[in-house]
């Protein structure tokens, strides 16, 4: 077992970042939590539980808050979702549990499930890990997990629960994947993510950080372990394909977010243009505002109704003071070693949905920072194919093809989950993928008779 809070103690703890990114949704205190918990109707086969990809027994954990059994509440959450704290803070609850709450049809006020979950999880955050289960006795089986993000962490927990060795490899300094480096700090702090990873480490999961797994190493891991879990997430953010994209001042949303979360960036100045209109683009735009940028503009080639960000994220960005330029696309970057402006042209939609440039509509938008957030590439190179080797697993449009119920790929020894299989969804989807894969891997490794819940 690792020492407690091993990763948590490596948090950068930047006071500037803490001051610039306070909680978006302040936590409940005991009184507020109990009052809210008492509103829950305690539905049978509750829609909130069904809507949660990890099927947390929501009424059960809420009832336990109401009865002052908060430790039991936290264990109920962890039993279904080992990353229950980050999900409580990062989940888009109004399209998940809270969106499904029957209260919408009762008094129009859904139960604040996310905040209650956070309350339960934080009440045990600094305890010596009251876990809902213990690792099972060693079975002699071993699994390598590539990537230390939510999918791998969830998978590893399920494996440890069933007595299987779980060894995680990741190229970053700190584990947690996007939970650590990619979720807006006002939703989930880096330190909270690490504290949660510590809980997973406490189950006996081994971490090899700063270790990039390439195709050769993957071969070696394959020979050392009984199975492989691929939780590699998505790759780099796409580039615009314009000249001078390497210029100073041009960055991408994930780097921007990771840098401020690590404390490497604690302030920004000048004008910022964010290109793209997904949830990550919004996070980057809001971060720029909070870091002190003078003016932040998001540009998107379609209109507000087509943006892939959630509506509530769009509303939040407007409240933060982000400006939006619709129906434009970048056609050039201006600057000399350092970006000075983005050249944009206007677009029109045709009835068939295709976009065409409006002739002679180009204009310049001054910017000292240009942040790209136009989707991420995939990790096809790691998984082979190509000339030299046969591909390890079958991909489809860059995504690893899996059986949804088991996470098993076309190669029976390989399982996968998270963004690399779903193209990029939420933390909770990655956890659900990892959990299903971990359970199924154990069943596959130990034989169906023993692979179920033996913990």
């Amino acid at each position: 077992m690792s020492e407690p809070f091993k990763f948590f103690e490596q948090s950068p703890h930047s006071p500037e970042i803490a001051a610039r990114f306070p909680d978006l949704h302040p936590p409940f205190d005991q009184t507020a939590a109990v009052a809210e918990a008492n509103r829950c109707l305690y539905c049978f086969d509750a829609p909130c539980t069904t809507a949660c990809p990890t099927h947390i027994d929501v009424p059960r954990f809420i009832k336990k808050i109401a009865t002052d059994n908060v430790e039991g509440s936290a264990k109920t959450i962890l039993d279904s979702n080992i990353l229950g704290e980050s999900c409580a803070r990062a989940c888009p609850v109004n399209v998940l549990c809270e969106g499904a709450c029957v209260m919408h049809r009762y008094n129009k006020q859904p139960i604040a499930i996310g905040r209650l979950q956070r309350f339960a999880m934080e009440s045990i955050a600094y305890h010596e890990y009251p876990l809902p289960f213990r690792p099972a006795p060693d079975t002699g089986k071993s699994v390598a997990l590539i990537g230390a993000g939510p999918a791998s962490l969830a998978c590893a927990s399920e494996l440890r629960r069933r007595g299987i060795r779980a060894v995680v490899y990741d190229s970053n300094t700190l584990p947690g994947g996007l939970n650590t480096y990619g979720v807006a700090e006002y939703k989930l702090t880096l330190s909270a993510s690490l504290r949660e990873v510590d809980r997973v480490a406490h189950l006996g999961v081994e971490f090899h950080m700063k270790t990039t797994v390439d195709a050769d190493m993957l071969d070696r891991l394959e020979s050392e372990h009984d199975a492989i879990f691929l939780g590699v997430g998505l790759g780099a953010i796409h580039r615009l394909g314009l000249d001078r994209e390497e210029m100073g001042g041009v960055t991408n949303a994930l780097t921007l977010i990771a840098d401020y979360k690590r404390g490497a960036t604690t302030g920004m100045s000048g004008r910022v243009v964010v290109i793209g209109a997904g949830n990550t683009a919004i996070d980057a735009a809001n971060a720029s505002v909070r870091l002190g940028a003078d003016e932040v503009t998001m540009v998107y080639r379609r209109g507000p109704h087509q943006m892939s960000a959630f509506d509530f994220e769009y509303e939040h960005a407007k409240q933060e003071g982000v400006r939006f330029l619709w129906h434009v696309q970048p056609v050039g970057l201006k600057g000399n070693g350092k970006v000075e402006a983005v050249r944009l042209e206007r677009l029109e939609s045709r009835t068939d949905g295709s976009l065409v440039a409006v002739p002679n509509s180009a204009f310049e938008l001054s910017a000292e920072h240009v942040v790209l957030a136009i989707g991420q590439s995939t990790h096809t190179e790691l998984l082979g194919g190509g000339e030299a080797k046969p591909e390890k697993v079958k991909l489809e449009r860059g995504r690893i093809l899996i059986d949804r119920a088991t996470g098993q790929t076309t190669n029976p020894r390989y399982f996968a989950g998270g963004d690399c299989t779903n193209g990029g969804r939420e933390v909770v989807d990655a956890v659900a993928d990892g959990k299903r894969a971990g359970t199924a891997m154990a069943a596959w490794l130990l034989g169906a008779a023993d692979g179920g819940q033996n913990a």
């Binding site: 109990v34 009052a35 008492n38 109707l41 305690y42 539905c43 049978f44 086969d45 829609p47 539980t49 069904t50 809507a51 949660c52 990809p53 099927h55 109401a66 989940c91 888009p92 399209v95 998940l96 969106g99 499904a100 029957v102 209260m103 919408h104 049809r105 009762y106 109704h305 087509q306 892939s308 960000a309 959630f310 509506d311 949804r404 119920a405 779903n422 969804r425 939420e426 909770v428 989807d429 659900a432 299903r436």
Partner: protein, 475 residues
């Protein structure tokens, strides 16, 4: 058309309204009682007067329920801790300033004829409109042979009541304890002694709880506690039953000042429908203050107008004939649950209640190919985690909660009642959180009304099954 009024006469005492404060901390002193009258209370039963006692600290404890405070309140406070002459002097002053308001002197002294004669004369001399004999206090005083120690023994109750009646010139109200197997016995005793009225119920013996850190009961007096008197909303059903029992008994029935969990106009209306002439309030006033009487009066008047009642007497006792023995209930009356699915929010509480707490006749099979009455809650719970759900991506997942129809209840979540199996127990409609979503509807089975009693008379069922070997003390 006559106007609607709350004015009433109780055992000869003219009342501005039927709302009295019960003998308790809210009526401890004249200053309080006058503020209460200013707030709208029609009367006050003074905190019980007797030889001053010494109280303990602490004195109250309560039961909260699902976030609601003081569902039930318990106290181990004794009678007035102030000298008799102080209380009487203040009564005199209150009556001088508020001649139209009712002041009842609650009395408790040792069980001696001359002592009772003396206190009755002094209270009446102070101007009390009536006397309430405290034969109900369940804690402390009972250990000294007073309070419920008197109320629990009909002979004592009768003896002391008759001593009081020997000298009393104002109406005598005997306050009954519920800590007895049949409340009609002391009520009959009081009536035999010539009492003019009754009040019921006093508080119920209780221990409200144990501190789970210290293992000490509440209210805590230096690590120990004693059983106290329970009151508040939790005791209302018990009080309603006891008031009905007394008021339906010709040997016991007298003008009744009802007590027990009354905090709203609706509570008051229910007690009056079971025969009460006035109601007494304590816990609700202790919780929220005297100001609650405004809505009690306003709400009761509004309800009376809506129902066409002009006076309290127009509806007093109106529900008494509707309370009967079980053996007279119509066994051929049949109702079944109907779920109004346009109101159903899909919580499925009716489903699990019916399966685990009733008769297994509500089913979740609306979207199955055919009705399935064998599918259990446990079976559903096993299947549920196998469903694979993902976060809906806006604009891509049209079937997600973000899509149109988000707030409609899916048909699969709307339960179905098997009306042939439904026994009409009401449980589903009781647990349903939505008003009028589940209604209990009468089903015409073509059978004439028939009670158990009638079946016995017809020889359909043996008489022995009704009457056991032992006489029923409640019969």
């Amino acid at each position: 058309m006559p106007s609607t009024t709350l004015e009433t006469t109780f055992a000869g005492i003219k009342c501005l309204n039927p709302f009295w404060l019960a003998s308790a901390p809210p009526t401890n002193c004249g200053e309080q009682v006058m503020r209460a009258f200013d707030a709208g209370w029609g009367g006050a039963v003074w905190k019980t007067i007797g030889e001053p006692i010494t109280n303990v600290s602490s004195r109250y404890s309560s039961i909260d329920y699902n976030g609601q405070k003081m569902m039930g309140l318990n106290n181990i406070e004794l009678i007035s801790d102030r000298p008799i002459e102080v209380n009487l002097r203040e009564i005199e002053e209150v009556k001088r300033r508020y001649p139209k308001h009712v002041v009842i002197a609650s009395l408790m002294v040792e069980s001696k004829r001359d002592v009772w004669h003396d206190i009755v004369k002094r209270a009446e001399g102070a101007g009390a409109d009536g006397l309430e004999l405290n034969f109900g206090c369940p804690h402390g005083m009972s250990e000294r042979g007073m309070g419920s120690a008197v109320g629990q023994v009909p002979e004592y109750c009768q003896q002391i009541s008759s001593w009081v009646k020997e000298v009393a010139r104002t109406p005598v109200i005997v306050k009954l304890t519920p800590n007895i197997s049949d409340i009609r016995m002391p009520a009959r005793a009081a009536k035999r002694a010539g009492a003019d009225a009754l009040s019921a119920i006093n508080t119920i013996n209780s221990i409200t709880g144990i501190d789970l850190n210290t293992f000490e009961p509440r209210p805590n007096v230096d690590g120990k506690s004693s059983h106290g008197g329970y009151c508040g909303p939790a005791v209302k059903p018990i009080a309603l039953n006891m008031v009905q029992q007394v008021m339906s008994d010709p040997e016991a029935a007298l003008p009744m000042s009802a007590i027990g969990g009354i905090g709203t106009w609706a509570d008051a209306a229910e007690f009056i429908l079971l025969g009460a002439g006035t109601v007494q309030v304590c816990t609700a006033a202790m919780h929220y203050g005297y100001r609650i009487v405004e809505d009690m009066a306003d709400g009761l008047l509004t309800w009376m107008r809506r129902k066409g009642f002009h006076t309290i007497d127009d509806f007093r006792g109106r529900s008494l004939p509707n309370v009967t023995d079980w053996k007279h209930l119509n066994l051929n009356y049949k109702i079944v649950a109907r779920i109004h699915e346009e109101k159903c929010i899909g919580c499925q509480l009716c489903y699990t209640a019916c399966w685990d707490g009733a008769h297994q006749c509500i089913h979740l099979d609306r979207t199955l190919p055919e009705p399935d009455t064998k599918r259990t809650p446990q079976g559903i719970a096993v299947e549920a985690p196998k469903r694979i759900t993902t976060t809906p991506i806006a604009k891509l997942d049209l079937n997600g909660p973000g899509a149109e129809g988000r707030y409609l209840t899916p048909l699969s979540r709307i339960p179905r009642v098997d009306e042939h199996e439904c026994v009409g127990c009401n449980l589903c409609s009781l647990v349903c959180p939505v008003p009028n979503c589940i209604t209990m509807e009468r089903v015409d089975n073509g059978l004439p009304p028939q009670s158990w009693d009638e079946r016995v008379a017809l020889g359909i069922v043996p008489e022995a099954a009704e009457h056991g070997a032992l006489p029923n003390p409640n019969a």
